[in-house]
Amino acid sequence: MTFQYAPAPESTAIVNINSSNDLFINGEFTPGHGNPFKTINPATEEVLAEIAHANEEDVNAAVMAARKAYDKTWSKMSGRDRGKYLFRIARLIQERSRELAVLETLDNGKPIRESRDVDIPIAAAHFFYHAGWADKLEFAGYGDNPRPLGVVAQVIPWNFPLLMLAWKIAPALATGNTVVLKPAETTSLTALLFAEICQQADLPPGVVNIITGAGETGRMLVEHPDVNKVAFTGSTAVGQAIQRQIAGTHKRLTLELGGKAANIVFDDAPIDQAVEGIVNGIFFNQGHVCCAGSRLLLQESIAEQTIDSLKRRLVTLRLGDPLDKNTDIGAINSREQLDRIIDLTKSGEDEGAQRWSPDCVIPQKGFWFAPTVFTNVTQAHRIAREEIFGPVLSVLTFRTPDEAIEKANNTPYGLSAGIWTEKGSRILAMANKVRAGVVWANTFNRFDPTSPFGGYKESGFGREGGVQGLGAYLTSEETS
């Protein structure tokens, strides 16, 4: 006998999407001067709204507003008072959490279970955590008189729209900087709702400015001469372009870029727990996660058994309506991203890896990709080297811990890694040897505002979260 799930869709009545949306500059919603663009629901391909496109004039206005707010208000305000605004914002995110979760799922395609239980609560937590830092910065280890940098340009990706906004804005404001933030082109809506939250919080005008647009808007923002710091999360290629753009300037830079994390399972690992971790590692958020465990390294003696368990587990995953509370795998965020996933998975087959997906019904409309596992993958395959940013797992095997380390580190990336073993000394030794900024042992894809996040090597530099994350937004007197 098989059980059927009844549909359990979350109501969209709570959100009210404006048919056309302005930029948020100097505390007010202001029309943009570029050609507006449309944002769609990737699960249905229906147009959700029209979004303003910031051109050079708008970028200038936003940076000018941020500068004025920095000079006149924010840099002069006591840390205690800045903290109070951050507390207000955190509370407002909590108060409007369901609305934000539904809107995020509509615009991004991620399951409501994830936007409701992960994205929005952690976004609020980031504001709470940083609120408390605002009046304690001299205790953070950056000298006796840490000072803000000024106007910060922030460009964020589409995979965790509001959460990435929180990771960027909360530490910037706590440290006394003002912000111009550009959300990703396909996911502007929660950033604009956040702008409303800033208004409800009575945040002084210009402290946060949100400008919507595509890559060109981001480039103009990053290159603006009155910007003191750039914080970017996105692809390594764009991160490199930004590093080149700001060469020769005094702008500070932090980059959180791509990854190709190894998730390493030893023969003494609790296999059922590890399988849950593998699934969470690569199929969370449709694999649109820079720290996704996209390379599964299995010790040879348990490889077959683990792959069998994994396949059994994947058969139970539910792909479909992101608003359904039982959905595990939502929609791929855009046609462009779907095409990239299709291209890379095709290369996997062409290069000789073995492809497997569970039987699942793919909806007629929207952008979808079934969870996919490749076995017989070698380190030379594109699917083992390039970031796919989709629900695609490449399985490799190893015999010894040394071989596991060798393979795990055989990538230009170094964002995250997973280790599964019951042996404590092995966890610590592996964690020590893997060249990655975040190591999850017997767990995966955990995030917390107190816990610094960021990469080694070509996964970028700088940390977000924790006491280390404050350093990205502070300067102190240096003698040499």
Partner: protein, 290 residues
């Protein structure tokens, strides 16, 4: 007394790469002079190939040095200070020749340089306690963050402080477990060569510290674009165009870049910013449960 007329045995001034003292593979030298322009010595002029060889040595050195215990790294740094103390007179005379400063100033710079090594020696087993911590995450997890060395760092020593400036660049890089390829002051390279002789006898792991003499404008671009260099310290780069060009090259493999400081004061007690610049924070999560 004929003893005073003894003809001295002069030294060949070479590079320090992989724990050995090679000449430049290019066979080139340049004249090091004092500030009056008088000839002091012919010094090896490192080529791009020498720089690449130094990267290879530095990577090998990193693989051992980064695994050394913090206690051991501190011991090696203390040892460098001890050996430098024994060569103090030579450093003073080198600095006087190179920078045309008084004996008092040269002595002061040497004292400070030795003390700076000592300062960093003490940090080797402490900086991780100051820059790392546990994180009280909201959930049943033990979570900690520790700084780890970035890898191979290519550095340019300041032109004007031929020993103290050089030491102030090298010491923080190696204290955390990195390897360094440093280009000595082009105008005043001889104190750096004397330093390399101290390093060679101080239990420094071969390849951990590599000192090149020559022109940063010639050598640095190949280090800035080298795939096995993780970070750049541009302290001694005063030409803004060169600094910009190196920053652009660095983006190719997302290198960490510490730009040239404005009016550095080498006498002042350093901040931790140099140690921090060449470390990576690693965060480890583990569930807690019975």
């Amino acid at each position: 007394m004929i003893g005073n007329d003894r003809i001295e045995v002069r030294k060949t001034h070479k590079l320090f790469v992989g724990g050995a003292f090679p000449r430049s593979e290019s066979g080139r030298t340049y004249e090091a002079t004092n500030s009056q322009g008088e000839f002091l010595a012919n010094v090896a002029k490192a080529s791009r190939k020498d720089a690449r060889d130094a990267v290879l040595a530095a990577r090998t050195g990193f693989n051992s040095w980064s695994k050394a215990t913090a206690y051991n790294r501190g011991q090696v740094l203390y040892r460098i200070a001890e050996v430098m103390e024994g060569r103090k007179d030579q450093f003073i005379s080198d600095i006087q020749d190179a920078e045309a400063v008084s004996a008092k100033k040269a002595t002061n710079q040497t004292d400070q340089a030795i003390d700076r090594v000592l300062w960093y020696a003490g940090w080797a087993d402490k900086y991780a306690q100051v820059l790392g911590n546990t994180n009280p995450v909201s959930g049943p997890f033990f979570n900690f963050s520790i700084p780890e060395p970035t890898g191979v760092v290519a550095a340019v020593a300041p032109a004007d402080s031929s020993l103290l400036g050089l030491i102030s660049v090298i010491a923080p890089i190696i204290t955390s477990g990195n390897s360094v390829i440093v280009i000595a002051s082009t105008a005043s390279p001889i104190p750096a060569i004397t330093l390399s002789e101290c390093l060679a006898t101080s239990d420094v792991i071969a390849g951990n510290i590599n000192i090149l003499t020559g022109d940063p404008a010639e050598i640095m671009p190949s280090l800035a674009s080298h795939g096995d260099v993780n970070a750049l310290d541009l302290t001694g780069i005063t030409d803004p165009e060169l600094q910009k060009a190196l920053q652009i090259e660095a983006a190719g493999t997302v290198k960490r870049v510490r730009s040239a400081p404005v009016n550095p004061d080498w006498q002042a007690t350093p901040s931790l910013s140099r140690l921090r610049a060449f470390t990576e924070v690693k965060t480890v999560w583990h569930p807690m449960g019975m």
